[in-house]
Structures are given as C-alpha cells and as structure tokens.
Symmetry: C2
Subunit: 401 residues, 2 copies
C-alpha cells in the first residue's frame, strides 16, 4: 500500500516527539508500505513567526508572510528526514515546491491548483520515505504560498489524491471522531467509520478534528481518510464514501457550537427584496450567516432571525445601522448554543427530528430556532442548557451503545 | 548607483536590529540608489538548527541539512521586507532560488555556478528594494543548497558581480579593515582602501573581517567591496583593484595567527621523493599545511619543518605514524605564532624584509621559520612574543601615522 501520514504541530512539538514520529513512520515502512509523510511546523513556531512579523506591521505584506511562515514546516521535514536516515531508512525531505504542489496566487490563503506527482512518485519508486513540508506550495510565478489554517491536512489529502494513495492518515492528539465531545458526555464513543458528508456536518458544527476544506477535498478525490492519535496505537476513525459503510446508523453524532450569536430583526419593513438586501449587505462585509428563519408574527409583522459567529457580531451591528429605517427593533443574543444531530441514516428514516424535539421538551428546553438538511438537524437553544441537551440527545439516540 | 548591502547575523540579531537595518536600507534608497539587500540568519538561529539536527544524528544527511539551515535566512529576508513595506518602501523578499542563484551539487558547501540576473533585475526596475536570503541557492536538480561559512558574503558579492553593481557593502560589527588587531595595538588605524590581494593575505593570516572566498570572488568579478559597521556611519574600508589605489603604502597591515602548530621532522631519510610522500599523505588526510622549510643540518641530515592549524595536529600525528621508520625524531610545538607583514608596495621596494628581521632582533625575538610571497612576509616565532612582535612591527613600518 501507499500510505500518506500527516503529523500536526503537537505531534512534532519537540525533538523527542519528532523522534517518536520517526519510529511510527519506520514501523509503517517495516510493514512493507510505501510512505509519504506530511509535517506541520513544531507547535509554537508559527505563532512565534507571526509575532515577529507583527513587531513590524499590523498588516504584514502577504507575500513575505508566506516566505516567513513556510519556514517552520521546512525545518520539521528536514529534521524528520535526518532522523529517519540515522535509523537506516532511505528518506528525502521536500518543500512544497519540490513536491510539485502548485497553488493559485492568493498569498496566505492559497488553494492547491494541482500537484505534479512525478518528483514524489519517483522518490517513492527509488525506495525513499518522502517527507513533505506541509501547508505550502508555489504559484505559477514561482513564489512561495501558504494554504491557510489546516493547510498541512490539505497538503496530505491532495498528495494522497494525486498519487492515488490507499490511505491518508491524519495524526493529531485525539483518537478519532467521537459521537460527541467526551468532555461533555463521558459515554461518548469513538466511531470506526463515518461518511464524508457526516464528517463535513460535524466539522462545520464544531467538531475540531478536521477542517472542512480537507474533508471536502478527500470526498472530491475519493481519498480514504483516517484520523488517529500519534500518542497511541488506537486505530482511529475512517472517513470514507457512504457506500463503504455497511451499517448506517440513524444518528452518528451530536455536535455543539457555543460560539454563535442570534440576531432577531423584528418588524421588518414589508416590501419585496428587503431580506435579500440585508443578507447581501452582510455577505459583502464577510459575515458568515449560518441559520436563517423568517416568520410572520401574530401582529402580521415580519420577523427575521439568524445566527452568526460571535466574533462577527460587531460587523453585523455595522451593517444593521444601514437598515435601521426599515426595521422596528434589533436584538442581539450571545448566550445561545447550536446543538446538531448528524447521521446519514436520517435520509431513509423518519421520526429522527420528532425524537429530538421530544427529548428537548422532556428536559424543558425551549427550541429557539430549527434548521434541517438531509443528514442534519440543528437547534438553537439557550446556552445554559447546551451540555444538558447534548447528553440527553446522546442517550436518546443510544449513541453510547 | 546600484548598491548591494549585506547584513550579517549580529546586524540582524534581533527584531530591533532588523528595524535599524531597514532604516539604513531606506536611507540608501532615499539617496536615490537602487538597493539589493542580502541578509544572514538572526544570530543564534543557525546554531539552534544545527543543535536540533545533532539531536538526531552526529553526521546528519547533508541534503536535509541544507533545507534546515536555509530557513534562517528566509525568515530574516521576509521580516526585513515586511519592515520596509510598512515604512512605505516597495520591497520584495526572495529566496536564493527566486533570486536565480544556481550552485553545484555539493550540499552544505556548494559553490555558486551562476546567477540568473533577470528576476532581481526586473524587480529593481519595477522600483523594488530586493531582499535576498543569503547563504543559499538551488542546484540543477532543483534541490536547496547552502554555501558554507561566509556564504551570505559570497551571495552578496556574486549578486553584485552578476548585476554589475557599483558597490557591494558588507556590514558587520567592526568598522573595516585595520592595520592590525586593535585589541593588540590600540594605535591600529582603519584603512580607507586596500587591494584584493592584500585583503586575501590578511584574511588568510587571521584577519576575520572577510572570508577569502568572498574576496577572491570580488577580485575575479571586479566588485568594489566595502566592509563597514552596521552600528555607526563610519565609511569603512574599500577593497578594490590595485590600480584604484593611488598611494600604495609599503606595508598595509600586520596579521597574527596564534592557531598554528609547528611540526619538526629531524633526520629525515635521505632519498628522493620522501618529502613528496609525506606531504601527499598529509593532503590525503585533509591536513592544511601552511609554511614549509627544509634544511640540511650541520650533521648533513635533512630537517623538514612545517606548520598546520592546531586543530589538525592529531591528524598529523596519525599520518606521521606511517613514516616513523624514515624519520629519526618528530617534534610537535603548539606554542608558536605566525606574524605576517602584508603590502603591495613590497613588490617595488627592497628592504622590507630586512626591516622586519632587524625589528625582531632588536626585541630579542628568535625567528623560527620564514616564508615570503610577492606581497607578504610571514615569520613563525615563540607564541609568548606574539603581541610584542605585532606592536614592534606596527611601529617600525609607521602604520600608526
């Protein structure tokens, strides 16, 4: 098999840990597999470099930032290659450029355009373990670019796709994907398998194991993704095509997002296009609106409720200032939480939503907003009931079984 | 004018110092010049990375070392570019690769093969200050290489040569080249100008301002080199063609090297080729033999004396073991010093050597070995007289005037 293994910042956090990563990579090689390793910067390095840059500028030149930030991953890849060589393994370190990773021009948040698989493929054929500096590539002008947050995961998935690897293992400090956050519900169980779509919903709903960009790319390229811990030998969670999952559970997991704010626009002027104007204005100011509910109150007046990340609430206020003539009153509420139930089984089963609402009612939790998709039900509730709601739903759907 | 400015590790030792370098570069730009800046890694960074590598291996994989070590200069170049941009100057950071620096394949001690001047030339034409990461390039296979000790100086000189710059300024923490080490002779004077050849002799004799590789390259490419301090505005020393120096002093400077050992081979077997065998064997073991003197003693026996760097004395002993059948006795002496007088004026004036010997005699200093070249006289003496000899010669040749 060809296996791509990606090790994040905490997994390569110091020299001892890099030595442990070398042992794990060597073990995979000993099992007869070809291995391409993708590494992040040692934890703390990237933040240190950002601090350096901010000493000179609040808004540092982006092209130079990419040159600056890409250096951390280069260091780790060189060190891991040195460690593997010393252990008697043939290894070669490659920068994003050397690994043939070509991106668009967007400095500090570039997207991978394509990968030239030849340099890595040739090195693997020659018996090398290839150690790639994650998070970086070059654009068509030959300038170094970086991929933004989660960039090393993306590098790993894109390489696995381009080289048709059998498996792409993402090593972090957690064992895999859980039915819910174990810090909230100790009975939470690690899932063996989960579909791309479920993972996407869970990730966008607050599960921090993987970023959506990586899961989306894995889905697009059909990469079998495994998320597992670099600190033990537990098998982790396989994220794969829905058809690869035999037994589809009704509900796979419960996600919680407490970083949402609710905005209620009451008495919105009754004319066509007003909602479109508001949400276009928010989009132009880069506000990420999540759930939207529009209702006509008993008084015949239109109410629009929506949620946004708490960090964007000031920008929302700025936009709303422009609409104050058209809206009777605006309420902002920070202490809300979004609880979501995710599962591909919902597609073919009814009654999943009903059970959620019943469970909330039993606990006397008021549901303020509801939104559903084919494989997800999200509810906005008062933040103080967040953990209670998660535990109640976890039990109701028997996720601890 | 097009000016290349190179700032070494101490000049960019921390963020405050990088900010000062930015001011100095900006000032040169304000004076109407085009500027290309070459930077080293922040002092301490390279040693830190070497320590990291040695955690894994005593003899780390060279190709990976180059990837590792080249990252320090990249960081500095990115930070300086960010600083200049923030100050309102158009600046662009470039790696060795982006600057078009192509080297041979020798990892960790590569030589610059050629420079493609187009990327830097175009950037300068577009009004940019170009900030190049020193010490690095890529080889023909596209792998990152580093240039070894003094590599950033070499980068600067090679760029100045390739782009036909009017001046290449090497900024360090000293004011320039002195007639002798001011710690030994406080009356030592900074020279305004010195020829390449004199500088080469002084550098190889222990003056630590510039490495020979850089001076040799400057000579070959006809680059006007200035060495000056980044901590004040003193004009420094211009190192240039002999014909650019109007008033040629008889003697330019006195150099001292205390890191030499003297090896005396007494009663060497009297057969043709024995000396050749000995020195070939030393060369094969990478011993850098400096001065060699062969004499026939009063007893008709051959004596061979030579000097080597103290650090190589163990290797010499290893080689000599193989010749013990052919040599009556071998003496090793560590407490010797080499004092040298350098000056292009010697070429056309006699009596320079005689004055040196007279000066030594006056001070009752025994000369153990002598070697001369067109512009240099070197004498090996007892180490305890080293400073006295330097001061006496400095006065004899009126270098304080």
């Amino acid at each position: 098999m060809l296996i791509v293994q990606k090790f994040g910042g905490t997994s390569v956090g110091d020299l001892e840990r890099i030595a442990n990563v070398a042992k794990r990579v060597a073990k995979t090689r000993d099992e007869g597999h070809d291995v391409i390793v993708v590494v992040s910067a040692m934890s703390g390095e990237t933040n240190k470099l950002i601090e350096y840059a901010h000493f000179f500028s609040k808004n540092p030149q982006r092209e130079a930032m990419d040159l600056l930030l890409s250096s951390g991953e280069r260091v780790t890849s060189a060190l891991l290659s040195i460690a593997l060589n010393e252990m008697g393994y043939k290894a070669v370190a490659m920068t994003g450029r050397q690994a043939g990773i070509v991106t668009d021009k967007r400095h500090t948040s570039a997207r991978i355009d394509h990968i030239n698989p030849k340099p890595m493929g040739d090195a693997v054929k020659e018996g090398n373990i290839v150690v790639v500096a994650g998070f970086q590539g070059i654009n068509e002008e030959g300038r170094v670019t970086t991929l933004g947050r989660g960039g090393s995961d993306l590098t790993a998935v894109a390489i696995a796709g381009a080289l048709k690897a059998d498996l792409c293992e993402i090593y972090t400090d957690v064992d895999g994907v859980y039915t819910t956050d174990p810090r909230i519900e100790p009975k939470a169980k690690k899932m063996d398998r989960i579909s791309y779509d479920e993972m996407l919903e869970l990730a966008s709903l607050g599960a921090k194991v993987l970023q959506n960009r990586s899961v989306e790319l894995a889905k697009k390229m059909g990469v079998n993704l495994v998320t597992r811990s670099s600190f033990n030998d537990n098998p982790g969670t396989l994220i794969t095509k829905e058809e690869n999952i035999m037994e589809k559970p009704l509900v796979s997991g419960i996600a919680l997002d407490k970083n949402q704010s609710r905005v209620s626009l009451k008495g919105v002027e009754d004319r066509p296009g007003i909602a479109s104007e508001i949400f276009n204005a928010l989009a132009e100011d880069a506000v990420n609106v999540d759930m939207i509910v529009q209702t006509i109150g008993a008084d015949g007046k239109t109410e629009i409720d929506f949620t946004v990340p708490q960090s964007e609430i000031e920008r929302v206020k700025g936009v709303m200032e422009r609409f104050k003539e058209s809206i009777e009153s605006i309420e902002y509420k920070d202490d809300v939480a979004k609880v979501s139930i995710v599962g591909v089984g919902m597609k073919s089963h009814s009654g999943v939503a009903a059970k959620a609402f019943t469970t909330m009612a039993k606990e006397n939790i008021n549901i303020e907003m509801i939104s559903t998709s084919e494989i997800k039900i999200s509810m906005v509730i008062d933040e103080k009931y967040a953990e209670l709601a998660v535990r109640a739903l976890h039990e109701a759907y028997e996720l601890d079984k």
